[in-house]
Amino acid sequence: MLWLHRFGSLPYFYRVSRPIAIALAVPGVLLAAYGVYGGLVNAPVDYQQGDAFRILYIHVPSAWLSLFGYTSMAIAGVVALVWRLKLAEIFLVAAAPVGASFTFLALVTGAIWGKPMWGTWWVWDARLTSELILLFLYLGVIALHNAIESPRTAARACALLSVVGVINVPIIHYSVEWWNTLHQGPTVTRFGRPAMEMDMLWPLLCAALGFTLMFGWLTLWNMRAQLLWRERRSRWAKKVFSDA
């Protein structure tokens, strides 16, 4: 509890977040680079999809982080609403653009993957459509945050919105799936999911872990910026400015 309390202190957080961010960034970038390299270059060619499948080494980690990011925002949202913890508010505000970027990356890579698979850039496939709506959910949080002037109110409003959103994510996903199976029919080929070879799976796991660490790093870095802006009138923040 004491630890939590100390961590709740904003200057303390600002001080320790820098080494933590670096500790996340270095292995994150290395793992992601190893995973992506292993996937793009080393992994054997897929007997069904040829080389096109290789984009999965970016697509899957991004899609995972788009969900992970939104869920973590909602958890932080509950903490912010119930315990009024300022750091939770700052986290969810800072995570939104990072999560939105990964969601966008997942969409773009999905479209690139779709081109050789389906012959067209965009297919109203259930998973891609859900991902698109998830992007809109992210953009809603970001837009709401930008629209409300008072940072406290903005963060609390975003907290509530992300909690409402996260309850809706599975419902949206299920409804899109329902819609897709009902009206698209079996014309859309789904990706077969045969058991992956170890030398294909291993780089993917590395890339996923690396991307996740990078998510932490970028979010933490954004948190530091948000924190400084919100506390710009306080004594400790002014000292940070004068030291810089």
């Binding site: 709401l144 629209a147 609390r156 509530l160 919105l161 949206i172």
Partner: protein, 222 residues
């Protein structure tokens, strides 16, 4: 506790009645969107029947978006909202009464107007009951979910576009099941599944949305 629910419901219905011109505008908006559509697509009956579920539901969504903006705004501007929040009665209950009054004065009217419009689009009369049922089950949920969005954007002077960005993604399931039920009915297929799902969403909305609306109102007032 219920006395305050009825009091707020009665008050808002009375207000809706006194300002019935606004209701007529919403209805006209709904009718106009649907009526202008064939002018864009051409009068091909087959096309109109095919797009009618999407068209009706998009018109309902847009009309909901426009009307929802005024749900809490007058109370926010004249200070009544402070009295809601300070009331010893549960704010969620007051919010539920307001959404119910809003739905009776706008959603229900869309439900009642829909048969005329879908027949205008050439939809077979046998599909009308299902279409009305889907709107009856779907439009209250639109109000409940949309009220969360309006409550969050209450302090902003022009929230219209932002509101659409906040609530349209949340409307996806209602749109899918609502239009899905309509489409099944037009094709002569059973639509019960989609209607059950709409009903489930409505139950979920009634039991959870009022609390989210209450929390959002408090945040906006703080």
């Amino acid at each position: 506790m219920l006395s305050v629910f009825w009091a707020v419901l009665r008050r808002d219905l009375l207000l809706a009645f006194r300002q019935r011109g606004v209701l007529v505008h919403h209805l006209l908006f709904f009718v106009l969107v649907v009526a202008l559509f064939p002018l864009g697509t051409g009068a091909d009956a087959a096309i109109l029947v095919t797009v009618s579920p999407a068209l009706i539901w998009m018109a309902v969504l847009l009309a909901a978006l426009l009307s929802l903006q005024r749900l809490f705004k007058p109370d926010y501007e004249d200070g009544t909202l402070e009295q809601y929040v300070l009331s010893p009665e549960p704010l969620a209950l007051i919010a539920l009464a307001k959404v119910l009054a809003y739905w009776l004065a706008s959603g229900l009217i869309f439900v009642l107007a829909s048969p005329l419009l879908v027949l205008l689009l050439g939809v077979p009369a046998s599909a009308v009951p299902v279409i009305m049922a889907s709107l009856l089950l779907g439009t209250p949920t639109l109000g409940l979910v949309g009220a969360i969005g309006t409550a969050l954007t209450l302090s902003l002077p022009r929230a219209g576009l932002l509101l659409s960005l906040l609530i349209f993604p949340l409307y996806v399931p209602i749109l899918i099941f609502g239009a899905g039920a309509m489409r099944a009915a037009i094709a002569g297929l059973p639509a019960a599944g989609a209607l059950y799902l709409l009903g489930a969403l409505l139950v979920l909305g009634i039991t959870t949305a009022p609390f989210a609306i209450a929390a959002a109102l408090k945040i906006s007032l703080e």
